[in-house]
Subunit: 526 residues, 2 copies
């Protein structure tokens, strides 16, 4: 998720068994479903599609699959028709002379067709090669059933015959996927929208969210399958607007709350397999977003007991972060506890970080009021101080923009200051209008995570049409390029961009990209 | 085994359930044993060793294995100290930050060090790539035990880390092999020889035989694991001279006898997994060698009932082959039922094939006499005719050599005519002396199978010293090059020669190479 690996193996963590027990009690039921391919596919060039490649139906007929023999270097591509998260199985036999050598198969799982064109051996990015969804399997005897025990994220399955022998061919039948999700579609009625494009965006958003809903809200089911706090915040908002699986949000909150550092800091992410493990990565606002998730949950489903139970952990995050502000209310960045805002490290994040603190501090004060915090005034004063610093020292009224670092004006500063509500509604509108005028079309931003905040800031600033236009131009363009689910990374100015140098480790179904589900529901239907 | 693939899928086979039941009753017990590596190894260049590579003990200490962390592209080579046939397991854990990506491992099994240097992707030979002993395995969670269910043939195991992540390393412990063989070493006393070189050759031969003794006499435990009749003949001779597992020979005879073609022809080889299947490959003298195996078994352990039971199948082979001789007693070759003699197709095999018929016909007549065959004179007359043709038309007395084809004089013709005892002992001696003078050092022969027959012909011709010298120069040279077991193919003139273009599919433990066990016992100790 982040470009910079943090290694903090000396950090000591506590495990609060009481809270972790509650995380366990809120463990979801994984729903399974059998799915069969819709056709045999083949790859064709198509410059209108992602990486210039699409999959079209082959002349080979799926219903005749058991009649085809496959020899050395043959490739069978099965198209399951939509994005799948689950386990794959297929029956394998042989035809021709007796089997005088093992069958050696490569099985690739691809979310998008271009993954099938990329060769693993050519991948040399910084992200682990172990994420490439590719297996190699020998069969000494046939017939046999190939059941792969790992879970994959894909629409296409390619079976490539590395070898049989010149004397016989492999035969395949009964390809089946057993999908897995903790999203319960049976009790959820999707929105019906008049705008066809928005309806498509909404539908793909729902599919993206559902496929990321597993034992926890996963970052992406293909890769980096753990629970990240910043992503959880957006997934939870989309969840309230759709499946409304509250237990899963609670489970995730308990997991973060139950495994802080000794000093009380929350990790940016946790693992739940083979046991509950907090990661040694820490991000300034990801820790703070624990408060946002608790606040948003309380807004969606008021639960004062839960707020009371988790309040001490929420307060600890605020207290730790307040130590990073000087007496004037200015954020002093700490590179060991970096402000994330976006993947890109090409812009200064100080002002955005300052705004994120204000955004969360307001939510915290609401929670503090709910449980009648004795020191409430302390936090109110801090909010005033930090907000005043932003208004008086970071806002350039002549430009109608917030400045950051060394007289830098970037989009993240404006967006987060608007979301934090630092200025008046009229000023927010001016800020976002200036942003559109001076910084659109957007450049240098490749994450739906940051685009989400831009769109929401436009809505908050009352610029509904601009918000809808941006949503259509961004998430809509992914659909135009062939997306079945929304992607971890997408720069509309360079659609083939991969932060890893190859599509095979890109995550094409990624939690933080599902937010049109929330944005459409909140700003276009309510 | 053969360079030419035969595809005869239209051949109809019978399954004689009575005979196959007896094959089942003679199924051996597979003995298992736990073996642990002797050291961590690393590859070094050494021009005196096969392919210029050897393995030496690493500075890394095997006893400290659990303390080492292994990261992307690291290679751990475990040396088990001798050739192994069996299954491999190892415990895997991780050290460093939490496991934020799967572990992706490549595991290679190598009989000789140079296999570890060869890259599978570079292999493009005619033999199936599926024989390359290489697996790729993902672990989503650690700790875990890697237990590979397939059986491998190897001395070295290489674990290469394709990837972890920059945040953690893999840790290995408890590497273990469970070996498999049906050779019972407990009741067998190896020979003690004064000649150190011969003792080494004998020991490596015993190891080769033992590692090929599995559920049947396998061709090679690494590759082509089925039962070939021509190889069975040599293995059985070596077996009587060592482990003396008679039941295993009987089992193999019953398997061939129980699955002939409708017309009664025996396949060159059979499969026993997933069920008993005769292959659709047929070789002239391999079918005939059914008689040789039965004859040799009856010599080693007289069993008239067994001879009587299998005699009809033996007779069928002779009758079918006799149809290939013209009225003068000359073999008329049939390319659909080729004479094998040796892998090489660079020499004419007609005279060798004629000699093989005489060799087997003599054994058949012995068996026919044993069971009091009514038509015995018919076969005696055929033997006379075919032998006379050889003596009168194929022997060039002025050269003291047999001719073949278009006035070609090759070593195979001499060797098989001597083994067949077509000429007098004095003439045989002259023939082999001429052979030594005119055809040694041997060129164009790369199989221990053919070398075996050359050595035995020298012994039979009374040229014991020459036989021993050739055995030392051939099998001894494999040992000098680092052999733990004898190889399927070896040309001392070009030690790095592979019939497949790469050591990774060579079989370095191959049944037909174990015969010094038999030759030494029979000709040097009795």
């Amino acid at each position: 998720m982040a470009f910079t690996f943090q290694i903090n193996t000396d950090v000591e963590f506590i495990h609060d068994e009481n809270l972790l027990k509650k995380a366990e009690e809120n463990k979801p039921v994984i729903q399974t479903r059998k799915v069969f391919p819709v056709c045999i596919a083949e790859l064709v060039k198509d410059e209108t599609q992602l990486n210039g490649i699409t999959a079209k139906q082959s002349k080979k007929d799926l219903s005749q699959l058991p009649s085809y023999g496959w020899k050395r270097d043959d490739r069978l591509i099965l198209d399951f028709g939509d994005h799948m998260v689950g386990k794959f199985e297929i029956d394998i036999d042989q035809t021709g002379s007796p089997m005088d050598a093992p069958l050696y198969l490569r099985i690739k799982f691809a979310e998008v067709p271009s993954e099938l064109e990329a060769e693993s051996r050519d991948y040399n990015g910084w992200l682990s090669r172990s994420w490439i969804q590719e297996e190699f399997v020998h069969f000494d005897q046939l017939p046999a059933k190939l059941f792969l025990p790992r879970r994959y994220s894909f629409r296409y399955v390619e079976l490539k015959i590395i070898d049989t022998s010149p004397k016989w061919q492999a035969v395949f039948s009964n390809p089946t996927v057993t999908t897995e999700t903790s999203a319960d579609s049976s009790s959820f009625k999707p929105l019906c929208l008049k705008d066809e494009k928005l309806q498509k965006i909404y539908n793909v958003g729902i599919k993206t969210l559902a496929d990321c809903m597993q034992d926890v809200f996963e970052d992406g089911p293909k890769r980096d399958r753990r629970l990240w706090l910043g992503d959880l915040r957006l997934q939870a908002l989309a969840d309230y607007a759709s499946f409304d699986n509250t237990a899963l949000v609670k489970r995730c909150l308990y997991l973060f709350a139950g495994m802080t550092t000794k000093e009380g800091k929350i990790s940016a992410n946790v693992f739940v397999q083979p046991k509950n493990i907090p990661d040694d990565t820490f991000l300034f606002e990801y820790s703070l977003f624990f408060i946002s998730v608790l606040y948003d949950l309380h807004q969606a489903h008021p639960d004062e007991n839960l707020v009371r139970e988790l309040y001490p952990i929420a307060k600890k995050q605020i207290d730790l972060s307040l130590q990073m502000f000087d007496k004037d209310g200015k954020l002093i960045p700490d590179e060991d506890y970096p402000v994330f805002v976006d993947w890109s490290n090409e812009f200064n994040k100080d002002t955005a970080g300052q705004a994120e603190m204000i955004y969360v501090l307001k939510q915290f004060i609401f929670l503090a009021e709910t449980i009648r915090e004795a020191d409430i005034n302390f936090y109110r004063e801090k909010l005033t101080l930090i907000s005043r610093y932003a208004r008086e020292n970071l806002y350039r009224s002549e430009r109608k923009l917030f400045v950051t670092g060394n007289e830098e004006f970037n989009i993240a500063s404006q967006v987060w200051m608007v979301l934090a509500g630092v200025m008046s509604p009229e000023e927010n509108r001016e800020i976002m209008q200036t942003t559109i005028r001076e910084m659109f079309p957007i450049t240098g931003i490749a994450t739906p995570y940051m685009y989400h905040h831009i769109v929401e800031a436009l809505f908050q600033a009352g610029l509904k049409d601009d918000a809808v236009t941006l949503m259509k131009n961004y998430w809509g363009k992914m659909i135009d390029l062939g997306a079945d689910t929304f992607w971890e990374a997408f720069d509309p100015n360079q659609p083939d961009y991969s932060p890893y140098g190859s599509p095979i480790v890109n995550s094409y179904c990624h939690a933080w990209s599902c937010t049109p589900v929330y944005l459409i529901k909140k700003y276009l239907t309510e």
